[in-house]
């Protein structure tokens, strides 16, 4: 375990030196900041816009980090021949793979946490700088319908915004440790579920990088991500084929092949839809019997699915890496 941890920490240190990571992070933060601005253009549901864009940005940029950083990890070791210094030590190859995987995962999760803090801060700041709240902060009601400024309104205005900004960042940090307000209720769960989906993508990035070049690995990982997002649609495609023919028994020729290909594919490819709880976070659960609160119940089956899927792919990656000739 200590060997895996050592490789993981080393991988993490190596990854954070990658400039691509910072570009992606800055871009993600810009998009989240932008979401606060464009929400003002909406005539309704501005908070929803920030949530949609923020959660999607965390998920998508986490995926990009997994691809662009992940596919180079194993390849760089082989390319620079540094792998020899590792395999010559009493370290099994599967430990190397696990170390690389966890190192990359830590990198992704640290980035996700930074993005989350920013995302929550945008949400809190947007809420605190609502027109009514700002007006209440800089004017006081002396008699019904009559207001007078508290000090210099301009200075008060800026002071209030600075104070709220600091408070929003503080609340943002607190939120990742469990603090919540109604608008951020259970959002961390959604982000952690996204993180589990990203763990699957990361394991695939590692798997592909054990036997192919970075470019091909990136392409394969990207395609895996696409097919993983379409998994449930593949099922519907198969269902549609069967429905058109009047049942599976009536399928024949190419349609039968397509049907079985789809059936096998949808069972094997990762179902990333299971880790997407963004709709529940914005609207509450789909289950009509539960009250209309924006709670996101933990889907333990999906958690187990994600963990065993990752474990399976890492086993496969280790098996391939075991057979890999470094010459």
């Amino acid at each position: 375990m200590s060997k895996v941890l050592a490789i993981a920490l080393n991988t993490f240190k190596e990854a954070v030196r990658n400039k691509v990571l910072y570009f992606l992070l800055i871009f993600a933060l810009l998009i989240m900041g932008f979401s606060g601005v464009i929400s003002d253009l909406s005539i309704a549901a501005p908070e929803k816009l920030i949530k949609d864009l923020g959660l999607a940005a965390i998920d998508f940029f986490g995926f990009l980090i997994a691809v662009f950083v992940g596919v180079y990890l194993v390849y760089t070791e082989l390319d620079k021949k540094t792998i020899y210094t590792i395999v010559s030590k009493p370290i099994d190859r599967y430990q190397f793979i696990l170390g690389k995987f966890f190192g990359l995962l830590i990198t992704i999760y640290v980035n996700m946490l930074i993005m989350s803090v920013f995302f929550f801060a945008v949400l809190y700041f947007r809420d605190a700088t609502d027109f009514d709240k700002v007006m209440k902060a800089i004017y006081r009601e002396v008699s019904p319908g009559h207001y007078e400024p508290i000090g210099n309104p301009q200075i008060q205005y800026y002071l209030y915004h600075f104070k709220q900004l600091a408070l929003a960042i503080g609340k943002g940090v607190a939120t990742i440790f469990g603090y919540w307000e109604p608008m951020t209720h259970h959002l961390m769960r959604v982000i952690w579920m996204s993180g589990l989906g990203l763990a699957i993508i990361t394991s695939f990035a590692i798997l592909y990088s054990t036997f192919s070049t970075p470019t091909l690995s990136a392409v394969f990982t990207f395609l895996t991500w696409i097919i993983g997002n379409l998994c449930e649609d593949i099922l519907r495609y198969a269902e549609k084929l069967a429905q058109k023919a009047g049942g599976v028994a009536n399928l024949a020729g190419p349609d039968l092949m397509k049907y079985w290909f789809a059936q096998i594919a949808m069972h094997i490819v990762p179902n990333l839809a299971l880790f997407d709880k963004r709709t529940e976070a914005v609207y509450g659960p789909w289950d009509v019997s539960t009250p209309n609160i924006h709670s996101v119940p933990i889907d333990w089956v999906s958690v187990v699915y994600g963990l065993v899927y990752v474990a399976g792919i890492l086993c496969l990656a280790s098996m391939i890496f075991n057979r890999r000739n470094f010459k």
Binding site: L49, Y94, L230, L235, T279, Y283, V308, A311
Partner: protein
């Protein structure tokens, strides 16, 4: 070498175990997915852009919907300032709601743009229909459907349907059933409308809210009045068809088939029913003294009659629990002219009776309302005479000199108009005191 084979074997076993578990879980998940069909068939990619975008958005459908939403708002503004053609926006809202089926504002705003502004109410309703069955806890969407159907399309039956759905929604405020009851009455569903307003009145009693009681009482009167009028207007049609002439007095239509052995709710019965129960519940009264004006009050015998043995009324019982028994007690089977709910009596409005373009419900009114009409006519004609007098510097010689045409308005009670050219005095023979 041997170690490597062993390790590979163990890894293979682990792989099979882990991946096998993952595939098993996935299989079960997919079985669940089959039970939850997509909003629109995802794989029919031709035709509507929403279906295509749903697949292409790769589960970022909410974000794509948001950007389209912002675009739709801008498009609404842009078109509002240019050609005011909202038709293309329908597709936009259709796509947005395909991508984000729970986006309530997209349905309501879309309906406003397409229906209210664009005059394409059917398309607006199609959008609302879509949202109504997706947002099953919210009243807002079917409520807007009711608004469009009733006030914009004049389709009360359709409005009733939307209204009934709206009032059953989890977040429906307590005023929604009242509006739905209004639509029920408008649509001719008097039993239901009366029952809903009755329920509302009893809720007002339970909550000790006089404001709700006042509104509900007025609405009960209105429902009964419309109910009565529909029967009488039917009888009026039967009378004119049979005799080929208009009646001069309301009693002339009392023998027509529509006014034989019919069932209707009677206001005095309602008052007696609630007041008798108030007594049984050790309350001083049911209808607040401030609300007793213009109500058909029951006779003393009716008020003092004992309650039936099956009544649940006793101290501590909620009024709402007595709704059924009160409702049934209000209904009467009778023949002849019904009782007016405001304590007056129904009469023919002869001013409106002969005019084919007059509103049907204005042809039979209560005596009190008719008196108001007479007063209004007298006031308006006298004002016109006064204006003309000032203009001429003398009293007009005839009403023709006032109105530049013959004064043909029929006296509402069947009397005649009397104009004195000497004094300029204008009166009605049926009510010379006014």
């Amino acid at each position: 070498m041997r170690r490597s084979i062993l390790q590979n074997f163990i890894l293979f076993v682990f792989f099979v175990a882990f991946f096998g578990t993952a595939v098993t879980i996935q299989h079960k998940n997919l079985e669940k997915v089959k039970l939850n069909p997509p909003f629109i068939e995802t794989w029919m990619l031709s035709g509507r852009s929403g279906e295509l975008l749903r697949v292409l958005s790769l589960r970022y459908d909410l974000v794509v919907a948001d950007f389209l939403w912002l675009r739709a708002i801008q498009s609404f503004g842009g078109r509002g300032m240019t050609n005011r053609d909202w038709k293309p926006i329908y597709n936009m809202f259709d796509t947005i709601t395909e991508l984000d089926p729970y986006f309530e504002a997209a349905y309501t705003f879309g309906n406003m743009v397409i229906g209210d502004e664009g005059g394409r109410q059917r398309e607006g309703l199609a959008l609302l229909d879509k949202g109504m069955f997706k947002l099953i806890r919210q009243y807002r969407i079917p409520f807007e459907g009711m608004y469009v159907a009733h006030w914009q399309m004049g389709d009360t039956q359709l409005a009733r349907w939307y209204g009934r759905i709206a009032m059953k929604r989890q977040d429906a405020p307590n005023w929604v059933p009242r509006i739905v009851a209004y639509i029920e009455v408008k649509a001719g569903a008097y039993y239901i409308g009366f029952d809903r307003f009755l329920s509302n009145f009893l809720q007002g009693l339970d909550a000790n809210d006089i404001h709700i009681q006042a509104i509900a009482l007025e609405k009960i009167k209105e429902a009964i009045d419309k109910w009565n009028k529909e029967l009488m207007l039917r009888a009026l049609d039967e009378y004119t068809s049979r005799t080929g002439r208009l009646p001069r007095r309301i009693e002339e239509i009392a023998q027509e088939p529509s006014l034989q052995n019919y069932e209707v709710a009677r206001m005095s019965k309602f008052v007696a029913a609630v007041e008798r129960r108030a007594r049984a519940m050790n309350r001083e009264y049911a209808i607040h003294p401030d609300l007793r004006k213009n109500i058909a009050w029951p006779s003393r015998e009716e008020l003092e009659a004992p309650l039936t043995s099956g009544s649940l009324a006793k101290a501590g019982v909620k009024w709402e629990d007595l709704r059924n028994e009160i409702f049934h007690e209000c209904l009467v089977k009778q023949s002849g002219i019904p009782e007016a709910p405001n304590g007056s009596r129904y009469v023919l409005n002869l001013t409106m009776l002969g005019y084919p373009w007059a509103k049907k419900e204005d042809k039979i009114v209560t005596e009190a309302d008719l008196l108001d009409l007479l007063k209004n006519i007298l006031r308006d004609v006298r004002a016109a005479i006064e204006d003309r007098r000032k203009m001429l510097g003398r009293t007009p010689q005839s009403l023709r000199e006032v109105f530049y045409t013959d004064f043909n308005t029929t006296e509402p009670f069947g009397g005649t108009w009397k104009y004195d050219p000497q004094t300029g005095d204008f009166r009605s023979t049926s009510h010379p005191d006014l």
